[in-house]
Each structure stands twice: as C-alpha cells, then as structure tokens.
Amino acid sequence: MSSLDSAPSAPKPTASVKLVLLGEAAVGKSSLVLRFVSNDFQENKEPTIGAAFLTQKCTLPNRTIKFEIWDTAGQERFASLAPMYYRNAQTALVVYDMTKPTSLIKARHWVNELHAQASPKIVIALVGNKLDLCNEGGENDEEEDRRKISTEEGRKFAEEEGLLFFETSAKTGANVRDVFLAIASKIPEEVVNKRGGVAGAKGRTGAGEGRVDLESRSGENNAGGCAC
C-alpha cells in the first residue's frame, strides 16, 4: 500500500466505494454486512426484500474507504433487480454457504453475470460463509462437520476467475473484517482520489470530483459529503 503522494493534501483521503452483495438466499449476505457494520449477529434475521443500503468505513494506512453497501435479496424472483445494484459497483461480494453445494453454483452464475455485465474493473471477492458450521477434523466431537464445499474447491474457482477468496463466519465474526480490508486495499488509488461515490442506481454522469477518472461510467457524485 504505497500512498505515493497521489493525494497532495495532508488528511487521509476518503473514497466512497460502492459494494454490492450477491448470492443465493440465506447464505448470510445480510449477516456478513451486519457483522461488518455493527459487529453484531442475529439468529433468524428476516429475509431481505429488494435490497438494503448500509455504509461503513474502512481505514487503511494511507486512506479511508467508505463502503456504500447494497445488500441484495437472494431469492431468484428478485434477481431482475440486481443489475440496478451492481451496474455501478466498484466491488462485489459473491457469497455462498459452505454447507450448501447449490449456493456455489449460484455464486458461479453471479460471477459470470458480473464479468459480462458489470464494470470491467470491478473487484470481486468470493466468500464462503458459515465457517462456524464447519467442524474440521472433528475438533469438537459434539458437532458434525457440515461442510460440503472444500476450501480447495472455493479457492480453485476464485483463482480461475481472478477473485479474492475468503471463508468467513458472520456468526463468530471470523475473517469478516479481512474481506472488507482486502477489498479496500484492492481498490485502485485513482478511485480513492475521486471524491463521491456511486451510491445512486443511476447517478448523473460527469459530476465526479475526481481528477482521474478511469471508469467513464462511474463518474458520479450523489453521495453528498461522504468524506466524513
């Protein structure tokens, strides 16, 4: 993380980064966000309808990233809404449930769709959730290992597609922050210098305050005073 003085003024630059979560229903998308934003966990969280919006800052040595998070609904019927949320996203978390094989198939589908439809520079992280249900090597005899998707399988897929890869537990909090930190580190410097996020689904173009605009599609500013 070299800052390389691309930001001339002293205070750490803050960038708003639009992040979208995609994945099959009930893999734990909302729970990952809740853990990241509020360091909390709720058993039996109500299913997300449409999408939920949240924000959270992530401080890196040289800059601060403010995530504007669109947590989408997982059920197939709502899938037609997804493009509205990933269209201008700089990063995406594609989440699956390590105890549920079909959820990895769905994750592959989302990765393909993002490659085809989203910004070509989008940073994608593949996240296997519910690590707490995986009791590797029978460490705890009481509980069975419910893992159905091996770490290798997930990692292999991530490598093939050029994705970041993590296994997390929203319940225990394991690795959750790491996912967001890794994504934040991966956000190109140019984006950081561009004040204003891409929170709106269809922002006005050309309103960005950034000096470098590598992504002509994301030059929007509707977040208003996001560098707080």
């Binding site: 229903a25 009930a26 709720q42 058993e43 039996n44 969280k45 109500e46 299913p47 309808i49 449409g50 999408a51 939920a52 919006f53 949240l54 924000t55 504007e68 609904a73 059920q75 019927r77 709502f78 037609s80 809404l81 509205m84 929170a199 709106g200 689904a201 269809k202 922002g203 006005r204 929007e220 509707n222 977040a223 208003g224 005073g225 996001c226």
Partner: protein
Amino acid sequence: MSSKKFNGHQEMVQLVGRNTAAATFLKSTVRQQQSAQGYRPVLSDDPKPYGAGYSHADILRASSKSKTESTFAPRFDRHISYTDLDDDWDASFDNDVMALGINPNSRSVSPPNTLPRTQSPMAAPDGAGSRSHSPRLELYPTSRRNGGSTAGLKPHYDRIVKDPANSLHMIYHPTVSSVDSASAAEIELLNARISRINKFKRVLQSSNVDISALRNLAWSGIPDELRPMSWQVLLGYLPSNADRRVSTLARKRREYADGVKQAFGNGVDHAVWHQINIDVPRTNPHLKLYSFEATQRSLERILYVWAIRHPASGYVQGINDLVTPFFQVFLSAYIDADVESFDPGLIPKEVLDVVEADSFWCLTKLLDGIQDNYIFAQPGIQRQVAALKDLTQRIDSHLARHLQAENVEFIQFSFRWMNCLLMREVSVKNTIRMWDTYMAEGSTGFSEFHLYVCAAFLVKWSSQIQTMDFQEIMMFLQSLPTQSWTEKDVELLLSEAYMWQSLFKNATAHLRPSGT
C-alpha cells in the same frame, strides 16, 4: 335441507366434544382414503410424540435417512397436476358434492374412536406408500401434548370452529359493577365500544350479511372479537348467506386438508420447500408466537400448498409475512390469551387445523388480488412503484424534486413497501388494523388503496427527507420510526390515504409519463 344440516350439526358437536385427534370433517376424508388405498393403521405404541408441531421437514429427514431413499429423493416431477381450483373454491360456489364423493354430514361416518388416534389429514401419507416406510410419518399427532387441557382456550371453542357466527354470542362485556370506579370518560369509551360491537353483530347475525354495510363499518376498524368472522366474510371466504356457512367451511377445510396431502404426497419440490423452510423461522422473529414449532409447521404447510398451486408465481419472500395477520387473527378467535405470545401447540389439533385452513384460504383470496406482484419480473410491483412516483410528484412536488436531485430511485425504497404491503414498516398489530380498511375497500384494497397508503406514508416524512442526502434518505426510509406507532397513527395514515385517493383516483393526469 335444514334438517340435514341439523343432523350434521349435531354430529359435529358430538365429535368435537370428544376432543378427538383431527377435525371431524377432515377425518371422514382420511378414513375414506385409507380404506380405498389400503393404508395401514398406525401403531399406537410408537414412543415418539408429535404435537401440532409436526414438521414435514421431519418427513424429509426421516425419509432421506431411510433405506428407500431412492424412491423419495429428488422427485421434482409432480405426479399430480395441480389445476388452479381457486375459482371453484370461492365461497359463492355452493356445491356440497365433494370431489371424493364424501358427504361431510353423512351419519354413516363411524364414531371417531374407531379411528387410529394418531392420524391426521394434514400429514397422512399418500396411499401409494412411497413414504409409508417412515415410522415417524405414521405418528402424526394426537390432539395435544398435555393430555387435553384446555388452558387458554375459550369456552365453547368447538362451536366457533364449526360456525364463526357462534362467536357473536360470546363477546364479553364488562358488567356495570366492574366499572363502578370508572371515570365518565372510561364509561363513555366502553359504551362506544359496546355500541360498535352491537352494530357489527346486527350486520353479521343477519341471515344474509349485507356486505356493503359490513364494509362501511369495517373501514374504521373492526373490534378484535368480530374480526375473524368479518375478515372471512369481507374476503368472500365465508358465505354471506348464513345457511351455507357451516357446510362451506367444512368443505373448504377438507379441501385444504386434501390439498396438503396432495402437495406432500409425492415428494416435495425441493427448491420451493427449501426456500419456505429457511424463511419460516425468520418470519416475525420478534414475536414469540412465530417461534413455536406448531406455528412454524402450520405456516410451512400453508405457504407450500399455496406455492405448489400457483406455479406462475410460486413462493416469493414476503408472502411469508402476509400469511401472519391471518394466522394470528384466526387463532385469536379460539383463545383467551395474548395471541402474540401464545403457543398454538397447546390447543387441540382440530382447532389448529381449522386456523391453518382458514388462513390458507384467506391468504389465497388476498394474493388473488395482487398476483402480478409475485410473478416473473414482478410487473405489479414495478407498476405500483411507478404510480407511487407519479402520485408523489402531484401530491408533494418539492419532495419529488428533492428525491430526484439526490438520485433516490423510488424502487430502492418502495419495492419492499409493495412486496410486503408495508409489513416490514409497521407492526403486525397495526397491519391487522390496516387490513380492516383494505378489506373494506373491496377487491382493490390491497393493490390500489395500498398505493395511496404508500403515498401518504412517504409524504409523512417529507420535511425530514428534504433535509437529507442520498445516504441519509436511504437509511432513514429503511428504518422508519414506525415500530412504535399506535392505532391512532395508523388511522391517521389511512384517512390521509383516503383523501389522496378521492383526489387522484380516476384522475388520469397523474398517469401521464413522469416529468410532465
């Protein structure tokens, strides 16, 4: 005709009075199937008890562990083709001839004690025997867990099961002595309540309920005691003709029981079942009622049967919310306790079966009016969101302009308002009050009138929203301070919606493309 009904009536009371396992009219059906298909009676000494909380998930688990897994495992092909019988299921369809040729009033039905106690129509295995290997299956519950206590049950609940109109004679009015110390204002309130109850009773006790009179009364809210019956009449589930009530209800409940058997009889559609299975435990998680096994199993069956019978939409998240007001209101008809913390596993199974069947049919009625909301691409919701935007421009142009300037898309916040009928925004209790009015509005209550309610709901926060930027607006609209709303707040919202409706309904100008 009337003497035949009377016979049926007598038998009903007799059977229910014995507190037997399943609802009587359901039982005859099971029995028929059983003899027709050679279904083996169950062993009554199986140790594993199942209350009303028996789960079809258990069937799945039990089956998948069994040796005959292959006969069960993924069978996505449905052997029974479900035709949408909803038209026939309308309360106005007065035909006592059963699909199975069973007359519910027939005196030839054997006394209940000759039936295995452990059978339930809700979980009776299909006669084809595809799952009869599962011992757990055959053990579907007897009436209740604790050997038949009636704690929490209203006296004469069995009469309400048979005909909701019987509840009209059982409304408790505080006696004068208990209000001796009450203030004049309290007495006035009480008198107002009694007079209101009496108005409803006059309408509902008539041999042919005057629907428009009932609508007029219901618009301003239905007293709790009268809501179960009023809702069923307003939705067209319960016939307005008193003579047809008992037989129609019996038939519908039996049809539902058959529907459950069919839906689960040949293996389940795993994708649909899975989705329902993961959503039911996270339905109204803040209310104790929804944490009980009995509740969850009932909701699962209702949602699954509905989904299977409506393949164009199938189960869509949010429908799980919509079933809960019915379940809660209909359950409340039979109990003397706070319904939101009550364990329905404590009531006799035949009563819970009736609550479940009635909830299913009324949910079906509601969804009939808003099916476009849940089919592919959800065009109904898209249309309503667009209409809300247009309406907002007309009602509050400053707000509309501000939202546009901040790039807030209406679909970002109002999709959920339409998909869940504002149930994520207001409490279940307040939703129930809102639905009194929606049902009073007639068949378009849950679609058209709801739109005006959403408009009134949005402009309520206009001044706050106009001080906010995109992020603040989104966060604010996602967690509005409405969980603490009282009935008064809801009634104000409804009257505001009424005002907007009278101003803008049928005014075509607001249907022009936006930006005009």
